[in-house]
């Protein structure tokens, strides 16, 4: 575990093996929760950070739903280590974990992630790897597959499109696994999804351009989080609803979580340096994760103090 290089990109096997070492190093804090299997039967694990009790109020964080966004799982690995290392040392993390649990899904789209790594078959792959009956094209955009305005504007019905929404909501087992975990745990207060790139911190809605009922509060939390992030390296984030700051996109995860009743739903688009897009050099992982941590911590602290 000590030799693991957080400033490097890693394969799925390496990440899973590192997760085992993190659990072994923090047995009373971290567990590896199996949440199901991917389309190609790869196991999916969420890391659960908990100091005890079952079904406590919890925060969900996922990364890597789009396979080619490598800096997102890399940031999640760093973040997992940070949470474990800071518990008992950092007042904010300690106080958070004394009353809430954190679930962190480092690789939300394992098949796609492996596909981008295996002999670089297609480093630019974004979707899942499911077979679409009647089409020669494979895969569904898992962030258009949630049951939130499914099949509406900003998602494609063409299986060959990068934003294909799939045959029906939750057709993708990777999405279904998360939905089932969230529903069975039943006490999530926040849902945070990590993407890259373009420096955005967003809240619902994406499938419609109407304001969410809590948009004023969500905007204020996100603005403060973006300021905290910016304080590290000066990285500038745009903040707003998905529809208003990028484009209308239906079937997205944080719209589903918000409609499900998880008020503090946010999506990050991590940074690029303006030169690399999805090919952000590995030496940018730790700076990206470090600045993102400030925003995550801000959101989590806010959730803790406003959820009870």
């Amino acid at each position: 575990a000590k030799s693991f290089d957080f400033g490097a990109y890693h394969t799925l096997d390496e990440i899973y093996s590192w997760m085992d070492s993190l659990v072994a190093g923090h047995p009373r804090l971290v567990t590896k929760v199996p949440i199901g299997y991917s389309y190609e039967k790869r196991p999916m694990y969420a890391l659960k950070f908990s100091t005890g009790g079952s079904k406590r109020p919890a925060i969900w964080i996922d990364a890597g739903i789009h396979a080619r966004e490598w800096v997102s799982p890399a940031t999640a690995v760093w973040t997992a280590n940070k949470i474990a290392a800071d518990y008992g040392h950092d007042a904010s993390v300690t106080s958070l974990l004394d009353s809430m649990d954190i679930y962190l899904l480092i690789v939300t789209n394992p098949d796609g992630y492996v596909f981008t790594h295996t002999n670089f078959q297609n480093r630019m792959w974004r979707k899942t790897r499911s077979v679409i009956p009647g089409s020669t094209c494979r895969g569904v955009d898992p962030n258009r597959n949630w049951d939130a305005g499914f099949g509406g504007p900003g998602a494609s019905g063409d299986p060959c499109s990068e934003s294909y929404h799939g045959p029906r909501a939750e057709s993708e087992v990777e999405v279904r696994n998360v939905v089932e975990l969230i529903k069975s745990q039943g006490n999530f207060k926040s849902f945070i999804s990590i993407h890259s790139y373009s420096q955005l911190l967003m809240y619902p809605y994406g499938y419609k351009c109407a304001d969410a009922a809590d948009s004023v509060e969500l905007d204020s939390v996100a603005q403060s989080a973006a300021r905290a992030l910016s304080s590290v390296y000066g990285t500038s984030y745009r903040v707003g609803s998905i529809c208003k700051i990028i484009y209308q996109a239906s079937g997205g995860s944080i719209d589903w979580s918000y409609n499900y009743g998880i008020k503090y739903s946010f999506a990050f688009e991590l940074r690029d340096t303006g030169r690399y897009g999805f090919l952000l050099p590995a030496n940018q992982i730790v700076p990206t994760a470090t600045e993102t941590w400030q925003a995550l911590k801000h959101i989590m602290e806010y959730v803790r103090t406003h959820s009870f």
Partner: protein, 97 residues
């Protein structure tokens, strides 16, 4: 393995709604197999598009003839991928030591 030799990523800075409409129309042309990393939505936001080597001349002519400002963000995607692969190999070696 899918290779990206000679593919470039262009950063396009649309200056008007007309530019956005033109780029949205370009996005719909499947034959040139463009991969929009950042879609054309507003003239306030940059647009990044990976252009396969074979489509580069046509896309550049399209941008130039419509006076749409752009520059090459990644000169050769495959070159960058090979660098990435070498970095991963080196880090794996370090870790195994």
């Amino acid at each position: 393995a899918k290779l990206f030799a000679g593919d470039q990523v262009l950063r396009i800075n649309a200056e008007s709604e007309e530019h956005i409409h033109l780029l949205q129309a370009l996005e719909k042309q499947e034959s040139i197999e463009l991969d929009f990393w950042l879609s054309p939505v507003s003239s306030d936001l940059p647009i990044d598009v990976r252009v396969p080597f074979a489509s580069l001349p046509a896309v550049k002519v399209f941008l130039e003839s419509n006076n749409i400002p752009h520059y090459v963000m990644i000169k050769d995607v495959q070159e960058l991928l090979e660098e990435e692969r070498a970095n991963m190999k080196a880090s794996r070696l370090r870790e195994s030591r």
